[in-house]
Amino acid sequence: MDTSHPRVRDMALIAAAVTLALSACATTPPSNPMLEQARAAVTSAQSNPQVTGESKADLTTAQAALAQGDALLKAGKPVEDVNHEAYIAERFAMSAQKGADLETSRKSIADANNRRNAVLLTAREDEAARANQVAQTKSQELAVALANLQASKTDQGLVVTLGDVLFASGRADLKSGSRQTLDKLTTFLQAYPKRNVQIDGFTDNVGGDDYNQSLSEHRAASVRDALTDMGIANDRILTRGHGKSSPVGDNDTASGRQQNRRVEVLILDEGTARTALAERP
């Protein structure tokens, strides 16, 4: 037979097309809207990474019901039966999602203590950093104040020497030139109310021991009185006289003797009680 004959070929083509169309109809899977709705719910639950543990079991139930629904539909079983499986599948898929939400909030609650502690730790660190900052600022301020006083560091502590021109020979009253140094000292003691002072008086070697001892005590007392006149509490100040002992200059020269006629103010560390002072050499 000549298959290239136009009529025969056309007929064969038509027959093939009809067969195709019929077979397409036959193999198109039947559709059920409830089942599709359930499939969407199951797919959504499947893609939720939080669905684990107990909610995973619900997802498995949902998947099984969906598969059963598909099978019933394919086998041409009653639509009520398909719908029933779809209902079960959708409800369990929803349960799986809710179970995941539940697990998430439970974890969040369980982690509350850790989160609280983290907040408190951060607060403590901030507080410490701030305290450190304050301490640093204070220490810088103190350094500036001490520099301003021209205090020098000694074995006893920080010493401000009110020297040179403070007293005339044999006199205990302060010369007017000492005013500026005493003002600075007063300002310092007002700014640092926890710091007490020890005032030590010294003389040159002109005159007897008793005379110089008494003179040195009077000189220390003069400085104390000047400070208390400016409002510094008396109980923050201890005075001592050392007479002509502990010279710092050469008593054989006039300038050396002037250096020895002096008062030294020892600034005590914060909180050191005035009465706890050690005897100075």
Binding site: D58, E80, Y87, F92, S95, K98, S105, S108, R116, V119
Partner: protein, 124 residues
């Protein structure tokens, strides 16, 4: 004669089958017990307040299932009890989830307050 006998047997057989299908009330099934206990659990979990729709649906399916069982409709009643169970299970988890979310929100609020107080006390 033989033909008559066969016809008679068939008749009796179909009568038995028919009466089986008809309205002999069914005894409480395991499906029903399971659904009922799930409804109780959902109720205890607070579903009345937090998952009203699912709980109502579950109770409705329970009633329908019992009606079907009373009529002896085994397959239909079992399906309804299964659906009642699925609803009750969803209601229970939904209620638990809603309550837990509420608690978690309270906890978050508390921590936020703590955070505010802490940052206020450390701000110079």
């Amino acid at each position: 004669m033989k033909c008559m006998q066969a016809a008679g047997a068939a008749l009796i057989g179909s009568a038995v089958l028919l009466s089986g299908c008809a309205s002999a009330p069914l005894a409480p099934s395991t499906e029903m017990t399971k659904a009922r206990s799930a409804i109780d659990q959902a109720d205890r979990a607070g579903a009345r307040e937090y998952a009203t729709d699912a709980l109502n649906s579950s109770q409705q399916k329970m009633r329908q299932g019992q009606e079907a069982a009373a009529k002896g409709e085994k397959v239909q009643s079992e399906q309804l009890f299964e659906e009642s169970y699925a609803d009750a299970h969803l209601a229970q988890i939904s209620a638990q989830s809603a309550r837990s979310a509420k608690d978690a929100a309270d906890v978050d609020k508390g921590i936020a307050t703590l955070q505010n107080e802490a940052s206020r006390s450390t701000t110079p």
